[in-house]
Symmetry: C2
Subunit: 310 residues, 2 copies
């Protein structure tokens, strides 16, 4: 029997988290094909007991608020930074000029290029133009190289993966020696998340579109980070009992029965997974707010570095 996996649970979470605008969904996925018809975001409930989910719900929104509050206290001791946004219909040349201006402006401590860019712009050129000292997204290849290499430190950690690891730390989830599976190998989530988990001494496997038996491999994991953008792909049966699940996926799918005619669905079938996992992030209200908090944290780090402020 097919059941809308996310209905009751998501409703509860929307209530809990109230979607007050602090959450910003962002395309951040790997290579798996995306389909958003109803059939893909529904999943069979293999466990249909009446018991409530057993997993601890990792409240990214609350943690993100804590982080923002901490930064706010520190920032009050510093001059506020200035941000300027280029017009939407800019040419590549104009964007490059703006980036160059921000690079040179000592009052700007962080530059974020919101992807995807319009098709008339070359993503690599524009990303390369961002000064590495202000690349608070952490996507500069020199940062990624520093992240991959032992004995080196990137100037900034990419925000979403950093937010995932921060949630694990804040919920006191052991990482050292644990089997970790990252689903997805995108430049902005999957790949850096795998590198970060490895820096934390997890034993990491990356699953992607060419992986033959993703369910079997995922079932070996103590920690799962799902970032493929395939709604409800990770089912309850994929999860080892007691595993920790971080769901980066977020996709808006049409649902006439929902209040606004759509709902947000993650990569993980929450209703099934929350009965098997020991801890799980909801969608929305899990990783998303943490991404924004980490962006703030990176920008603050940059400002402190610039002002040599301890």
């Amino acid at each position: 029997m097919f059941t809308d996996c996310s209905s009751s649970t998501t409703s509860r979470l929307i209530h809990l988290n109230s979607l007050n605008g602090a959450f910003l969904p962002r395309p951040c996925f790997g290579q798996l094909s995306l389909r958003t018809t109803a059939s893909t975001w529904r999943c069979t409930l293999s466990i249909r007991s009446s018991s409530s989910p057993s997993a601890i719900v990792i409240n990214g929104k609350a943690e993100a608020k804590n982080i923002r509050d901490d930064i706010k206290i520190e920032v009050s001791r510093m001059k506020e930074s200035i941000g300027v946004v280029p017009a939407e219909d800019s040419s590549e040349e104009e964007v490059l000029k703006s980036v160059s201006g921000f690079n040179d402006d000592p009052s700007v401590h962080g530059i974020l290029v919101q992807l995807p860019l319009p098709s008339h712009m070359d993503e690599q050129s524009i990303l390369n133009a961002v000064s590495i000292e202000k690349d608070v997204d952490g996507f500069h290849p020199l940062n990624i190289g520093g992240l991959a290499m032992r004995g080196r430190e990137p100037l900034f950690l990419p925000c979403t993966p950093k937010g995932c690891i921060e949630l694990l730390h804040r919920y006191k989830i052991d990482i050292i020696g644990k089997r970790a599976v990252v689903l997805g190998r995108s430049n902005i989530v999957g790949m850096p998340a795998a590198l970060l988990l490895q820096r934390e001494d997890a034993t990491v496997t990356i699953i992607h579109s060419r992986t033959i038996n993703p369910e079997e491999i995922t079932r070996q994991a103590d920690i799962i980070i799902a970032a493929v953008g395939q709604p409800n792909m990770v089912r309850g049966s994929w999860i080892k009992p007691g595993a920790v699940v971080i769901d980066v996926g977020i996709k808006r799918v049409e649902d006439p029965s929902a209040a606004h005619g759509y709902r947000w669905v993650g990569d993980v079938c929450y209703e099934e997974a929350s009965k098997v996992a020991s801890a799980i992030t909801p969608v929305p209200g899990g990783v998303g707010p943490m991404t924004i908090a980490m962006l703030l944290s990176n920008t603050f780090t940059s400002a402190k570095r610039f002002h040599n402020f301890q």
Copy 2:
């Protein structure tokens, strides 16, 4: 019963490959502790049949010769490059000055910093000083970032991992969708080997010193790259029948019974593994010569790029 795993086989390989100086062992390992007493480089033969090893022996020396010959033919159409080596007792300042001179010299197309450096030199400073256009080792963090990121291309691939993948290609071993295990996460072998395997669409797991069950995980692999520097660590029982084994490890261990009082031992117990694997690289004569061939290949690539030579 304990048996010297590598005796008869290594003797045969020394005969086959004749150790004529083309092979250069190089420290290239991860974080596992190294012990080179006799007990560590001996391994129990779990399979003591009289049959000869079933695995194809991947002849790195022969492939390296083919590559060198190919390059020689191409190079004959180009001016030869010039190399100069600084004195052994140089100060860090002198080395940096030499590196800077090589960076500026248009007749130098590749710069290799032989690691480890003497303790009075800062490895990171000297590696950072090498112009990325001449970093034929491929260790510059910008190169590693380019290797890790989808849609980017590093200027050079690190030589040993590149040699490992080249052997797989030359022996027509499928990589796409295969389970690959890399043992070791060093900057110069394990980590870039994992990134390269992933670029080739393998499903990659990295095993390191904090991994709890390396044997169990390794046994799931279709392709094993061992680069930990722990003689004979990977036993026959670790290998799935039919797997392909690339042994990067090479360690000189004392052996009074050997002709020179020592022998070379890899990370893999060759005598056991060669009965289980479908293909395996010997030590010596496997990956080592390929590393040198790839260094030549990278330098040639650099020269072609400099001269805009197709």
